[in-house]
């Protein structure tokens, strides 16, 4: 589906080889972002949530952990629903970096 969108418009039956490759690279990047980048995103998002929720730390930790899979699934699917790969990469990798930095700066709950 995304391959077709990347090719845009009427697709000639035999596309030249060089036009397929960027789309394949883009799809690889998208998959890696959805699989690994998304894990970093979910890990940092849930860590930050667990650290900041103003409830007992064991409760905050467990809520964040059990909701992490829902976040991972939805963000992972969004990675394929969103047309712009640049936006996908920026939000997933950038978000992971920002939230990871925030967790690191705030430090472990005393």
């Amino acid at each position: 589906m995304l391959m077709r969108r990347a090719g845009s418009g009427a697709v000639p039956p035999a596309r030249p080889r060089w036009r397929i490759r960027p789309a394949a690279w883009a799809m690889t990047a998208r998959c890696i972002t959805a699989f690994l980048g998304n894990y970093a995103f979910a890990a940092t998002a849930t860590s930050l949530t667990a650290r900041l929720l103003p409830i007992a730390r064991v409760e905050a930790t467990v809520w964040a952990m059990i909701l992490s899979f829902l976040l991972y699934a939805i963000v992972g699917l969004w990675c394929f629903a969103e047309a712009s790969l640049a936006r996908v990469a920026a939000i997933v990798w950038g978000g992971a970096l920002l939230m990871g930095a925030a967790v690191w700066l705030i430090g472990v709950r005393p």
Binding site: L2, A43, T46, S47, I66, A81
Partner: protein, 513 residues
């Protein structure tokens, strides 16, 4: 917008399902069998009669035995029998080797299987029993931690496939009532939709709760952000008492049975597990945990007693909302609370999961086959893997159960040999089917599976007296095996038929794969 979303979700649904489908099929099949884990174990050890001993008496008998064989152990872990489990299982944690002596790589807990009434080790054939399917279900016979991670990735793909499948689906309610037989690809799509939609809440819950069972492994980072010492998390979350150091002063252990009875009164349910720390030391403690049959929430509550005076030291506080939620999710997955009727219902729902994954895999090939055209490599590969998994796995599972009856009871290493029988049979079936045309390969493997499952009750009746004696467990188990044989024979008959004419509508419109 909605259309584009649906298209992208259909695309990802097809790929998620294809990549993880074969392992998910195996996970669903062995997981569904695991609803009857203790029953499978009991069937595989026909020498052991059903348990009639109360947990407190079984605990006392086990401790009597442990006092003889491991009085100076660091810890005894005792899993008590109940209506479903016929034996007491005991793990000893022996004292570490003295300083200076060559250290063994972490003392490994040896499991002992004891008779609940006498406390003596039981004499029964060596087998993994239902534990084998259960372990395979989430470890996939791979070394730790790779099997668990792979199972987790598959479960995550499943969750993604469920959500994207629901988004893709335009007529979710109409499909409730739609099943068109013998229409080729259209029938596979209908079958996939019916099996998926009918049991959708079950599939969603079982997938999510499956992920939650190993959440501490898959997503430990919130713990790292909140706990300088992650071990503290386990203590707070599971209500464990902090470890105490042994004093080195010997002191006799109190009588266990009254402690267990007291704990059962306090905890409001039969005792399931018992941990004795530093037995025969002045600092000994006895922790009694309620069995999982008493409530939906897994990880029952516990009470800890002094091992020398029998005084109650602490009882687990009622857990908070998040812990309770996690325990309920865990309990829903393990279903140890379920009585026979609910257990069979869950078993049937599990089979609907097997059907959903299987029909989804078949749909992938049906949607891409063109009449008259030579199938491309990917299509042939997927088809062979489908045959190997859908028709081959049942054959392997039957071989595991048959090996249990056919291997000599006293054979050394027979537990491993049973497991080997399953994988060698499965592997051989997966390879040999490539020599046949796909349609014949489907038929042959299903037929072999039907014969193997039909053989199980016959071999059981010849090898052990339990079926002839009318033991209800053996009657139910062997009837289920006969039903499997009928189902596989039916599948084989269908597979042997010439496929129906291709449908008129273009493949792209029909298949959302």
């Amino acid at each position: 917008m909605i259309r584009a979303l649906r298209q992208s979700m259909a695309w990802i649904h097809g790929w998620l399902g294809l990549v993880a489908g074969w392992l998910l099929f195996a996970m669903f099949a062995t997981g569904t069998a695991s609803y009857f884990r203790p029953e499978i174990t009991r069937w595989m050890q026909p020498e052991i009669a059903a348990n009639r001993t109360a947990p407190a008496d079984a605990a006392a008998a086990a401790v009597r035995h442990l006092q003889r064989v491991g009085a100076d152990d660091v810890q005894w872990f005792i899993a008590l029998p109940d209506e479903r489990t016929a034996v007491t299982r005991v793990f000893e944690q022996p004292k570490p080797a003295a300083e200076g002596a060559p250290r063994p790589r972490r003392p490994r807990a040896e499991e002992l299987v004891l008779d609940p009434a006498t406390g003596d080790p039981v004499a029964a054939r060596d087998t993994r029993g239902g534990e084998h399917f259960y372990r395979f279900h989430f470890q996939l016979q791979l070394p730790y931690p790779w099997g668990r991670w792979l199972a987790g990735v598959c479960a995550m793909f499943m969750l993604g496939a469920i959500i994207s499948g629901v988004v893709t689906h335009k007529r979710i309610f109409a499909d409730f009532f739609t099943l068109r037989w013998n229409k080729g690809q259209r029938s596979w799509l209908d079958a996939h939709n019916v099996s998926a939609v009918l049991a959708l809440p079950y599939h969603a819950v079982i997938t999510y709760t499956g992920l939650v069972t190993l959440v501490v492994m898959y997503m430990p980072w919130p713990i790292v952000a909140n706990y300088p010492q992650p071990a503290r998390f386990a203590q707070e979350a599971y209500g464990l008492a902090a470890d105490v150091e042994p004093t080195g002063r010997p002191a006799p252990l109190v009588a266990i049975a009254p402690l267990v009875r007291d704990a059962e009164r306090r905890l409001g349910g039969a005792a399931g597990r018992l941990v004795v720390s530093h037995p025969n030391d002045a600092a000994a403690t006895v922790t009694v945990t309620r069995g999982n049959g008493a409530s939906v929430a897994a990880r029952g509550v516990s009470a800890t007693y002094s091992g020398t005076t029998g005084r109650l030291l602490s009882a687990s506080a009622p857990p908070g909302a998040a812990i309770t939620t996690a325990n309920v999710l865990l309990g829903l997955h393990m279903a140890q609370f379920a009585g026979p009727a609910l257990r069979w219902t869950l078993f049937v729902l599990g089979l609907s999961g097997v059907a959903m994954v299987g029909t989804g895999l078949l749909l992938w090939t049906a949607a891409r086959r063109r009449p008259g055209a030579t199938p491309f490599f990917g299509l042939r590969l997927v088809e062979r893997l489908n045959i190997a998994t859908i028709a081959g796995l049942p054959l392997g599972m039957a071989a595991f159960l048959l090996a249990n009856r056919l291997l000599p009871a006293g054979m050394p290493g027979r537990a491993d040999a049973e497991v080997a029988a399953m994988f060698w049979t499965w592997g051989a079936a997966a390879l040999l089917q490539c020599a046949r045309a796909p349609r014949l390969a489907w038929r042959d493997l299903f037929a072999l599976g039907a014969v193997a499952f039909a053989a199980i009750p016959i071999v059981d009746a010849l090898a052990t007296p339990r079926l002839a004696a009318g033991d209800p467990l053996f009657l139910a188990f062997d009837s289920a095996m006969a039903a499997m044989a009928v189902a596989l024979a039916f599948a084989g008959r269908r597979a042997a038929r010439i496929p129906a004419a291709p449908v008129r509508r273009s493949a792209r419109k029909v298949a959302h794969a």
